[in-house]
């Protein structure tokens, strides 16, 4: 299986199949990331679209200094904040509570975990997502968030403390 860098290289040369493969690899993660940031499915879909279009258009400018995932989440973050501020359609976006899957379909503990994550400050929520779900090392998370590594560590420290307290059995 081609690695992410190979795919981006092929996308830079206009290879549509490589682009489709990259989409398959990232669409879910970018959508869930945007959902974690914005808590709104419609906006999260918009973020996926804008991110993937930007990946297509910018693949030839990817220099490989960071991981592909860092690059893509960085683009997604930019669009999530732009779209979240309502710049795209000029409207203020409501914070949709309960924009998670139907709780009836989930086991109780997962609902508790999602609620606890949703209750974190946005920067901490984002670190938790990028580390635990996207598997980004903390120096890559620092690049995505545009902050020093120490800030990422401290956000994680506080997030973990709070989650552990809330979810203690």
């Amino acid at each position: 299986m081609a690695d992410d860098r190979d795919l981006v290289g092929q996308v830079a040369r206009g290879n549509g199949r490589a682009f489709r493969a990259l989409y398959e690899r990232y669409a879910d993660r970018v959508f869930r990331y945007a959902l974690t940031l914005l808590r709104n499915r419609h906006l999260a879909e918009e973020v996926v679209q804008e991110t993937m279009v930007a990946v297509w258009n910018g693949a030839d400018k990817f220099e490989g200094r960071s991981q592909v995932s860092t690059w893509i989440f960085g683009i997604a973050r930019h669009h999530a904040y732009r779209i979240g501020r309502g710049e795209v359609k000029g409207e203020r976006v409501p914070d949709e509570e309960g924009e998670s899957p139907d709780p009836a379909l989930m086991v109780e503990q997962e609902v508790r975990v999602q609620r606890a994550v949703a209750g974190l400050p946005p920067d901490q929520r984002e670190v938790v997502f990028l580390a635990f779900y996207a598997g980004l090392p903390y120096e890559e998370i620092a690049r995505v968030q545009g902050v020093p590594e120490g800030t990422v560590k401290s956000r994680m420290f506080h997030a973990k403390k709070r989650l552990a307290e809330e979810l203690r059995p």
């Binding site: 549509g16 199949r17 682009f19 489709r20 989409y23 669409a27 879910d28 959508f31 869930r32 959902l35 974690t36 499915r41 999260a44 879909e45 996926v48 679209q49 993937m52 279009v53 297509w56 258009n57 998670s100 899957p101 989930m106 503990q109 997962e110 975990v113 999602q114 994550v117 938790v128 997502f129 580390a131 635990f132 779900y133 598997g135 980004l136 090392p137 903390y138 120096e139 998370i141 560590k153 401290s154 994680m156 420290f157 997030a159 973990k160 989650l163 552990a164 979810l167």
Partner: protein, 118 residues
Amino acid sequence: MTCDEARERIPFYAARALPKPEGAALLEHVVGCELCQGELVEAMRLGHELRAAFARLPGPPAGTWLSVAARTVGASLLAVGVGAEIAGLTLAVEATKSGFSVTGSLSLLGREVPVLRI
């Protein structure tokens, strides 16, 4: 490594997001420190729960790829094997001046039956 330094790194280790050399240094500390062992166990359990909860979040709607493709790879690649998901049904999308036309056909006993045009 001090306990404070270890505590900072434990969640990233549990997230499998700590660079290998740092992970090794962390474990060296944890082996000899009961308090940090407890922290690590708690972080690993939390990590397991977090991954499960994030994995339950929905993905983008099925039509998202079509919207992306329409703005990128263009019409030629939009015939993306929908047939693989719904046996016998194929979709073709053509660019026209007014936008995109979507046609679908169903292969029945070797005969092509057009089923949709949007």
